[in-house]
Amino acid sequence: MRTASKPIRVLQFVALLLGAVLFLFPFYYMIVGSLQAEPESSPAGAFPDPGNITFGNYREIHGAIDLVSSLINSGIFTGGVILGTITLGLLAGYALARLEFRGRGAVFNTMLLIQIVPFQLLTVPLYVLIVRDYGLADSYLGMILPFAINSTAVFVFRQYFLQLPRELFEAAHIDGANEVQILLRIAVPLVKPALLTAVLLTFIGPWNEFLWPFLITKEADMQPLAVSLANYISNVSSRAANPFGAILAGSCVLAAPAVALFVALQRHFVSTNLGSSVKG
């Protein structure tokens, strides 16, 4: 590939930098606003005054919604989804990559097809089934059920298992290992990076999910943070004189775990696995 001349490289860098500022500024502004006693929306408000810094907004949002129990609910919801996806997804991914059984192609094609069914469109029938018929409103199980296996994660697992050398599996078979043993002792330890990618991908979904838990949790003490914060935004912000401080503080609390996890694991958030479906 040609190397660009120096002025062009500089120009490209400046363009990327400008873009990054546009992408990051709202996050910076969120933190600054959450720490100001009365968030300023004038341009001066973007530069925090050290004398004006307070944790009052965090106290206020904690008074309006119990942050600790909301975070625990978010954690249980997310943890349940991750647990389901890892255990059942590894089994499915392994079988789709390594085992020849009748119907394998059909399962794989269905999996690809499902990616284009908009999930939100299933919310009304799922609501009728889970809330009305099974009586699972205001329960963790009802929250987790529609997300219990993440098809993208199954796909990532399959891609990783496909990359492992065939000889490994043949040798294990000759040694008399059964499929469960091969999966747990040989295949899984070799695809640890896939596990991290899958955890990261799976975490984002339920942690950020709003519509589904919003529909099925009416009791405040069962709501994940995204739902309680959204209720605070839509119910309180129209009444309060200056509600933004508390909203921004809540936003920071909701954003922090996902951003921290992502920054820590971003090396594993790679495109090759996701992008295998793009190869034409």
Binding site: P26, A92, F101, V124, I204, I233, G280
Partner: protein, 291 residues
């Protein structure tokens, strides 16, 4: 036996939970939605035996004669017309720039992905703060600020939502394009250089055709995401205001189906939306794959 079940039938056992999940969470609800849309379906106490007569296309007729529903489909069209081209253009250009060896590549990647991995509910808070009538954006624009302001302006509310979603989702699409760029053969760039193609010419003649399968996927996924739009108009514009100018079909499904207790009507909206989205996707595919 082998012919009937395959060489390793234990595999069927391994995928069984996943298949049951797909049947219970996708296939059955999808069929159930279609069933509801053709019946007079209403909420009843669990276990109660009630008559839910077949009503043919009555729910569809009710939906299509509802001005609010028609408005929501127009809104989503406005959303897609802004969001999809912007997403394709920006993510392709940013991915191409990121694909080259630039300084601080990790920093750039992280900054572009951060909105995507953050909860919409969390970043909606800061957008509300930025774009309200006294917000920073208007403070900077001064006399150029729109009146009424962005999110309460009938013309600007939906475009503002579309820009928000573009910004929020871009990281994911950059990721897809970065993967696709790995698959463009290096020799093509070399021969373009030999032919004396400029940077723009190379991008047009080599990069764009090289990532065409990814473009098809990006357009499809952006369209599906658009068809799913709910959280953003619900929170950014206070439930689809002003006067329904930013209502999305899914938002109406929620209001008609669950708030007002008409799941049959909501399902009809859903079926129309799915069929519409599939048609749009088919047309896009035809257009993109034509040489």
């Amino acid at each position: 036996m082998t012919r009937l079940l395959g060489k390793q039938p234990v595999g069927a056992l391994f995928v069984a939970p996943y298949v049951i999940f797909l049947a219970a969470v996708f296939a059955f609800p999808l069929g159930f939605a279609v069933y509801m849309s053709f019946h007079d379906y209403f909420f009843a106490a669990p276990g109660a035996i009630v008559d839910r007569p077949f009503v043919g296309f009555a729910n569809y007729a009710a939906v299509l004669s509802d001005a609010a529903v028609r408005q929501s489909f127009v809104n989503i069209a406005v959303f897609l017309v802004i969001n999809v081209p912007l997403t394709v253009a920006l993510s392709l250009v940013l991915a191409t720039a990121l694909n080259k060896a630039v300084r601080a590549r990790t920093f750039f990647r992280v900054s572009y992905y951060v909105p995507y991995i953050t909860a919409s509910v969390a970043v909606v808070g800061v957008w509300l703060f930025l774009f309200n009538s006294n917000g920073l954006v208007n403070a900077i624009l001064g006399p150029l600020a729109p009146d009424p302001s962005w999110l309460v302006n009938e013309t600007l509310a939906m475009p503002t939502v579309a820009i928000y979603v573009t910004w929020k989702q871009l990281g994911f699409f950059i990721l897809l394009y970065l993967a696709a760029l790995q698959n463009v053969p290096k020799e093509l760039y070399e021969s373009a250089a030999v032919d004396g193609a400029g940077r723009f010419g190379t991008f047009w003649a080599v990069t764009m055709p090289g990532v065409r399968p990814a473009t098809t996927l990006v357009v499809l996924l952006a369209t599906v995401t658009g068809a799913n739009l709910f959280t953003e108009p619900y929170l950014l514009t206070g439930g689809g205001g002003p006067d329904g100018a930013s209502t999305s079909p899914v938002l109406l499904m929620y209001q008609r189906g669950i708030e007002q207790g008409n799941p049959d009507v909501a399902s009809a909206i859903g079926v129309i939306l799915v069929v519409g989205a599939l048609l749009v996707a088919l047309i896009q595919r035809r257009l993109l794959e034509r040489d």
